[in-house]
Symmetry: C2
């Protein structure tokens, strides 16, 4: 029995218990036999993707809910705790706030750019996407040679797996929130 089967078994059983459903009920909801639901929960069988799909749909949960592992409560990150990363002679500063987590697939930064400060990025991992909101100042973001002029309060999302740049075109500090999503 593979580890992934155990994970699936635990998650399915946990969901079923939490919702207070019998094997019979899950069977009705999903269109998968009661005996098969039981086999899966005991880790006695490695179900096909079609079967899992039916179960996920029947229980109205996602695949990842069935194949991932759980985590804990509130956590504060003070600015003083953050190890800042500088580029462009200190004119571009990145504050890594919430690191990447495998089961969430995103990480969060805040960014500060001094006037005329800039950063060129060759692009991140495949399929990555950035979500940026301007909280102070202004910025010109270039993606695939397209310039996007953003003012205070504006936002942009773009595919981050290609060359892109950030440039503070104003005369005061620019501050951005940055959420980077990775599909894998």
């Amino acid at each position: 029995m593979e580890e992934i089967q155990k994970i699936l078994a635990r998650n399915l059983k946990a969901i079923r218990e939490k919702e207070k459903l019998s094997l019979e009920k899950v069977s009705e909801l999903s269109g998968v036999s009661k005996a098969m639901i039981g086999q899966i929960e005991r880790g006695d069988s490695s179900p096909t993707i079609t079967t899992i799909w039916k179960i996920a749909n029947g229980l109205k949960v996602s695949f990842t809910t069935l194949i991932n592992v759980p985590q804990p409560d509130a956590k504060v990150v003070l600015r003083s705790e953050i190890q800042v990363l500088s580029e462009d002679n200190g004119r571009y500063k990145v504050f890594p706030i919430f690191p990447f987590q495998e089961n969430k697939r995103f990480e969060i930064y805040s960014v500060e750019i001094e006037p005329e400060g800039n950063l060129n990025s060759v692009g991140h991992r495949d399929g990555g996407e950035e979500f940026i909101t301007v909280f102070d100042g202004e910025v010109i973001i270039t993606v695939n040679d397209c310039n996007y002029n953003l003012k205070n309060g504006d936002s942009i999302r773009f595919k981050a797996d290609r060359p892109h740049t950030y440039y503070n075109s104003g005369d005061r500090l620019t501050r951005l929130s940055m959420t980077i999503y990775y599909p894998d």
Copy 2:
């Protein structure tokens, strides 16, 4: 043949072509037979979770990469386009920037709170989690009766499926970035 099989077929074939791998090579990397890889790509078979796990690991991609559907490039959201939601007699304003997307599982807002403005939340959907960073002013966030005093540049993440409140304890506008994650 189920729809999920077609999706899987398309994604696997796309990855293989992109990486310029032969069926033989994917077979070596994953430990799944060449014939089976071919069957999966043609949608001729509904593989078990163990088989998909092996393929995902062999190709170093996630499950979601194999079972999800692709999207387009950069998109700008100007502040003027955002429909603001107000609470507490206008002292608490929410700007929905990037709406929830099923395949990413998070949504992004910015929030503005006037001095003494506050909001009580009974909690969102099960397992939801909030990631907040202060970009201006200060805020007291309460989660499970615990108060967290955050200053400019500080951040917090907390389980959002329980009662929580936001209160501007300062004497000027507070601005927050808010990323809400939902497991399903």
